[in-house]
């Protein structure tokens, strides 16, 4: 049994909605269908945050809240969840503490980005009972652009909200309302040529995949969303994979960390950061909170973009991917998954099921680093992204895995540079040799992000930086520097 109406909690009750098109966005629904115009469209691609709303999802018996971009969120993905917008906050006409703090701290000027900031702040306020660190607050706001204020008063407001008596969302009734939606039949429908389904089990997903190899798999839609809003493409048949339980799991058996393909990036990075702190540094700079809350690790990996940031360090860490079909599973080294520009080893009936990362062995002499170079610190696409993994014993480099993004048509290892390192002494000269060799590994493009020359120079210099960081005591991170008193 299936159904073609979504049900979600909104404005105090469970709403039922017939899906007119599987790619209709939450923002279109709010602004065009029901005239809830507090949520704004600034860019239509999830980069400015003016459309930020908060999604509530029942996890266990708890309601978890996360900020997402309504402009690239497809309506069917609201099914079984709760939606909160800026209009929900001021109960009985009294501004919520984050709203009042924005007024008191002069956090709005033109006011157009403000509802988005308010919702990001509200999610933070709800998820952190106590005022988080400066870094965590910046992290919260990294997906919201303001062109007027220069952000300082908004950061002040983030702090000031905690100085007022606490006003919390009553999550219990909402979680209970969502509980009732868990037993509903699978969402499936057809609107014109647009067929869509949202299976809940891997078996169902694989069967649907086998029947419809042309169907577009959509998880967080942080990329597919732009095909619709910017290229006006019709993705045809859509299978939403975000509700497939097996793809949402994370496990760690002591030898491998396994991350399901539909695990949101935010959660995936938190798990990876337990393996090495460099992952937390990348997490902070990977898109924005709202994008990481919606987008998935599997989506980033399977999409196979040459500028996807998770793949270079995953390759450096020795990650593999598990591909599944009705016929069974197979496992590939991540670097072997990529065949050519936006072409992967996935067979037509296969899906990417999970990503496996070997746990670092506890022996000394293992080195790992992730470097991202872009014009802006927050939420920017890399000119060059690199993940480096090295093992060193008795002063000799034994293994080297150098993953690069932004340097070729696919995320790739730097074979010549690796060869220069493997078996070489652990010293500056070996890294100089690797830096010299890396030019032979890549023929990058010049584009809006950087020139080919810059990319080659930086790729080599990142190898030098790696040495300086692991082999010397020299400071090499401007992020660690403080102002001169």
């Amino acid at each position: 049994m299936t159904r073609n109406q979504i049900q979600f909690y909104f404005r105090g009750a469970v709403r039922t909605l017939t899906v007119s098109s599987p790619t209709r966005t939450v923002l279109q629904y709010l602004r065009e269908d029901i005239g809830a115009v507090g949520t704004k469209e600034g860019c239509g691609e999830g980069d400015c945050g003016a459309c930020t709303v908060v999604i509530g999802e029942r996890v266990g018996d708890r309601l978890e809240l996360a900020a997402v971009n309504a402009c690239i969120r497809f309506l069917p993905s609201l099914d079984g969840k709760a939606l909160f917008t800026v209009e929900d906050l001021a109960a009985g006409g009294v501004l919520h503490p984050v709203q009042q703090a924005m007024v008191d701290c002069h956090g709005s000027q033109c006011g157009f980005c403000t509802p988005g900031f308010v919702m990001s702040l509200w999610a933070m306020y709800e998820n952190h009972p106590h005022c988080p660190s400066q870094e965590a607050m910046q992290d919260t706001l990294s997906g919201n652009l303001c062109r007027c204020t220069g952000y300082r008063p908004i950061m002040d407001a983030a702090r000031a909200a905690y100085a007022s008596p606490r006003v919390e969302l009553q999550r219990g009734p909402i979680a209970a309302a969502l509980e009732a939606l868990r037993e509903l039949p699978v969402l499936e429908g057809r609107e014109g040529d647009a067929r869509y389904a949202a299976p809940r089990t891997l078996a169902d997903l694989l069967e649907r995949r086998a029947r419809a190899p042309q169907a577009r798999l959509v998880a967080g839609a942080t990329d597919v969303g732009l095909w619709v809003t910017k290229q006006l493409r019709d993705p045809g048949e859509v299978i939403f994979v975000g509700g497939v339980a097996e793809l949402r799991t994370v496990s760690n058996d002591g030898a491998w960390l396994e991350i399901g393909a539909a695990v949101p990036l935010e959660r995936a990075f938190e798990e990876l950061a337990l393996l090495h702190p460099a992952w937390d540094g990348l997490r902070r700079r990977f898109a924005s909170g709202p994008v990481r809350n919606a987008g998935t690790l599997g989506g980033n990996v399977a999409n196979g973009s040459p500028i996807g940031d998770s793949m270079p360090p995953l390759i450096a860490a020795g990650a593999t991917v598990v591909l599944a079909s009705v016929g069974g599973e197979r496992e590939l080294a991540l670097e072997d998954f990529y065949l050519a520009y936006q072409r992967t080893a996935l067979a037509p009936d296969e899906i990417l099921c999970r990503v496996r990362i070997p746990l670092p062995s506890p022996e000394a002499g293992r080195h790992f680093a992730i470097y991202k170079v872009s014009k802006r610190f927050d939420q920017d696409i890399s000119a060059v992204c690199a993940g480096f993994g090295l093992t060193v014993t008795d002063g000799t480099i034994r293994t080297a895995r150098l993953g690069f993004g932004g340097m070729a048509a696919v995320p790739r290892r730097a074979a010549s540079a690796e060869a220069a390192l493997i078996g070489a002494p652990f010293c500056a000269a070996s890294f100089e040799a690797a830096a010299a060799a890396v030019a032979a590994d890549f023929t990058p493009l010049s584009d809006v992000r950087a020139s080919a020359d810059y990319r080659l120079t930086v790729a080599a210099n990142l190898l030098r930086r790696f040495w300086l960081e692991i082999g010397t005591a020299l400071p090499v991170s401007i992020e660690a520097l403080e102002a001169t008193p």
């Binding site: 403000t114 220069g150 610190f377 008193p485």
Partner: protein, 774 residues
């Protein structure tokens, strides 16, 4: 009556009150044009865009567009009944390309459909053939081809060749500055409603309703009184909605009058960025003669600007660049050559600072180079060149012959030098750099002197309309537009104080050409100066009538009638304002009035470019400290100290917001924001930095961890509104300190005496190139 004409005591003026719409902003209840409840029958418009930079249109086949689902009307240049022009000064800016495409993305046609989505989809279904023509895409190509939108311009004083020949030292240099996308968070939008008897009303996100009114009328072949334009607020403007809101207002109005239905034209972000112009990129070249202390004897400048394909506001923008090559410095012998280059790119336009930032960059580049050549601290070289506050020194006339009468900059800089610990930090940074081969720090102090008033004298006028209703509440209209800068908040404070009323009794009406006509653009930082005075005049007129009438009733002198705290008092009399208003109405006293203001003292000859174009100057200075990674060229702004002059602040919270926001925006221009077009191939000229994914305005992490901003204690020497000063644009130029701090760090990496060839924006790639890598 004389006593009544004096300014009222400031009860609310001077207070750090919140933005008048803040409570609406934070709850999503502030209505922007796209938020208005749509009228029945509303159509949505989208433009079809050209896919070549320069070419003759051989075939424009729109059959598939017309046949697309939901399409109601399609218009091309041939369908425009009046003038096919959005150009504010010269008629060289077609609303829809007529025969020839002049930039990649230019609007070819416009379609109206039942939904926004249907209109966008339909607009992509055109079949267009072009006969390619040679495209000029760079400043160099334009200069070589002598391709101008306007003839070159000159300004000179003294014998610069003799000064150069006689100087102890002589040097030359070049600096390149990129463009800047406005990135107002609310994109361009207009909503046109056809009304009876050949008239139309347009809700438009614009800084210049009056200009929209005239251009819409011209496009329709109508007269001004048939068109009304209204704007309650913009979601940011920054100059991008001064002239370039016109095309969308005109197209919406054309479609609305053609179809007889309301038409909303809202640009998608990517289309907005491709279709509209940006800050002018410049190539700055200079030659200077100077003495051992770095004092300039003579400077020659060549300022070449990329104006894009049409004149738009490029003339006035370049005039302001010429007028700001002096910045804070006395230039005894000076010659400026200014090239206004035409390229096949979107037409560049007003952007906060309006050419001033580029002019300032020219002289600051000179100063920085002179200091590095002499091995001196750039601050010392700046100081020996400052305008001298003592008129007897004879160093207080600008190149355009205006006397700098209120020169507080030496005092302001001295205060900042101490409060920021500039000297101590420079020494500590030198020590840090000596011990840090990979990471370098840099520091710079740069000043700003910015002229306040429109160069075009006629724009320095404003009107207002103040209604006191018979219950004592006040509706305030004026000619200025709210775009986030706090104009309405400040003007409301002024009017509240004029009546002695609380803020809640004063309500702002939207800016509407039917209420206040012949308005000037809300631009040139002048919104509060002009409209504050006009609104105050209107309020004082009404108050004067009340006082005179009441004085007559009570048998006291009018000046004994006092308006304060919502009460009206006179000897033996004390009543609420609402009661007095009600009684005055019954006594047939006119409770509403217009108000008008024109800026005194100013004059300017647009031919010679000489005069006193500015009522006064606004001043400020900033110290920035940066860190630089020599391996990648990445930089990080570590600390900023700002001391800025807003005269007597009308609202310190709003002024500090303008200072910080302007600074961060200027920092973006000079660091992360790179306008990038395809240089070659069959899509040459296509804007690839077309969205926030590819065009990076500052985000929250870019705010310096140490950010100290203070207001300089000062009162405007001129009779401005409550002796305040304009604040919209000047702080943007404080960000030059970031650029020169990066250059300072780069110079530390390259060694003593080095002159890093740093181009703006100082992206990691630009910085690494200046360091000799990449």
């Amino acid at each position: 009556m004389n006593a009544l004409k004096n300014e009222t005591p400031a009860a609310l003026v001077g207070k750090p009150l919140p933005h008048e719409s803040a409570h609406l902003h934070v709850s999503g209840r502030a209505t922007f044009v796209d938020d208005m409840a749509e009228l029945a029958g509303t159509l949505h418009a989208a433009v079809g865009m050209a896919e070549c930079a320069h070419g003759r249109i051989r075939r424009l086949d729109l059959d598939a567009v017309r046949a697309a689902p939901g399409v109601v009307a399609v218009m091309t240049a041939a369908d425009i009944p009046g003038a096919n022009n959005g150009g504010p000064i010269l008629p060289d800016d077609p609303l829809l390309a007529d025969g020839v495409v002049q930039f990649f993305g230019q609007a070819l046609f416009v379609v109206a459909a039942e939904t926004h989505d249907a209109a966008r989809r339909a607009a992509r279904r055109a079949r267009v053939d072009y006969e390619p023509l040679p495209a000029i895409l760079t400043l160099e190509q334009a200069i070589d081809a002598e391709s101008w939108v306007l003839p070159p311009a000159d300004l000179a004083r003294g014998d610069v060749e003799a000064a150069l020949a006689g100087a102890a030292h002589r040097a030359h240099g070049e600096t390149r500055l990129g463009g800047q996308e406005h990135f107002y968070l609310e994109g361009q939008i207009s909503y046109a409603l056809p009304r009876e008897d050949d008239s139309v009303h347009v809700w438009c996100s614009t800084q210049h309703p009056t200009e929209m009114q005239h251009l819409v009328a011209h496009a329709l072949g109508w007269r001004a009184h048939q068109v009304s334009v209204e704007c309650r607020r913009m979601g940011g403007g920054f100059g991008g909605k001064e002239t370039q809101s016109a095309q969308w207002a005109c197209l919406a109005a054309l479609l609305a009058t053609r179809t007889g239905r309301p038409v909303k034209m809202r640009l998608d972000r990517d289309d907005d960025m491709a279709l509209t112009g940006k800050r002018h990129p410049f190539r700055l070249r200079w030659e200077a003669g100077f003495d051992d202390d770095g004092r300039l004897a003579g400077v020659k400048f060549e300022l070449a600007s990329d104006c894009g394909f049409s004149a738009d506001l490029s003339g006035p923008v370049n005039d302001r660049a010429i007028g700001h090559v002096d910045n804070a410095y006395y230039l005894d012998a000076v010659a400026v050559r200014n090239l206004r280059c035409k390229t096949h790119t979107a037409s560049n336009t007003a952007f906060r600072g309006f050419g001033g930032p580029q002019g300032l960059m020219a002289i600051e580049a000179v100063i920085d180079d002179v200091a590095r050549r002499l091995g001196r601290d750039p601050l010392d070289v700046r100081r020996v060149n400052f305008y001298d506050p003592d008129p007897a020194a004879g160093r207080d006339r600008t190149p355009y012959r205006m006397q700098v009468e209120d020169n507080i900059l030496p005092a302001l800089v001295a205060e900042l030098e101490v409060s920021s610990r500039y000297r101590e930090r420079r020494a500590a940074i030198a020590e840090f750099n000596a011990n840090s081969p990979i990471l370098k720090k840099g520091i710079a102090l740069t000043p700003v002197k910015f002229g306040i008033s429109f160069n075009a004298v006629q724009y320095n006028q404003a009107g207002a309309l103040v209604h006191v209703y018979s219950d004592g509440t006040v509706l305030l209209s004026h000619g200025g537009n709210e775009m986030g800068q706090g104009l309405h908040t400040k003007v409301r404070q002024v009017v509240a104080d004029a009546f002695g009323l609380p803020l809640a009794d004063i309500r702002l009406a939207s800016t509407d050409t039917t209420r206040v006509p012949n308005t000037s653009a809300t631009a040139a930082s002048s919104g509060t100066d002009l409209n504050g005075k006009a609104a105050q005049a209107a309020a004082l007129t009404v108050r004067g009538r009340l006082a005179e009438w009441l004085a007559g009733e009570l048998g006291v002198a009018p000046q004994d009638v006092v308006f304060e705290r919502g009460r009206v008092r006179a000897p033996g009399y004390d009543a609420g304002f609402s009661e007095v208003a009600a009684r005055a109405y019954m006594a047939r006293i006119q409770l509403w009035s217009d108000g008008f203001y024109r800026t005194p003292k100013i004059h300017y000859d647009p031919v010679t470019r000489l005069g006193r174009p500015f009522f006064y100057f606004a001043y400020g200075a900033a110290v920035s400290e940066v860190a630089l990674d020599t391996l990648t060229g990445e930089t990080r702004l570590l600390a900023v100290d700002i001391l800025h002059d807003v005269g007597r602040s009308l609202n310190p919270a709003i002024d500090i917001g303008q200072i910080e926001g302007g600074f961060i925006q200027g920092m973006g221009w000079l660091t992360t924001e790179e306008v990038w077009r395809r240089p070659d191939g069959n899509r040459a000229g296509e804007l690839m930095s077309h969205a926030p994914s590819t065009y990076k305005i500052p985000a929250v992490h870019d705010v310096p961890p140490v950010f100290r901003v203070a207001l300089f204690d000062n009162a405007n020497v001129e009779d401005s509104i409550y002796r305040s000063k304009a604040v919209g644009e000047p702080p943007l130029m404080l960000a030059l300190s970031v650029f020169f701090a990066i250059r300072d760090a780069a110079a530390s990496a390259l060694g003593p005496g080095s002159l890093p060839a740093l181009a703006a924006p100082a992206t990691p790639e630009s910085v690494l190139r200046a360091l000799g890598g990449a």
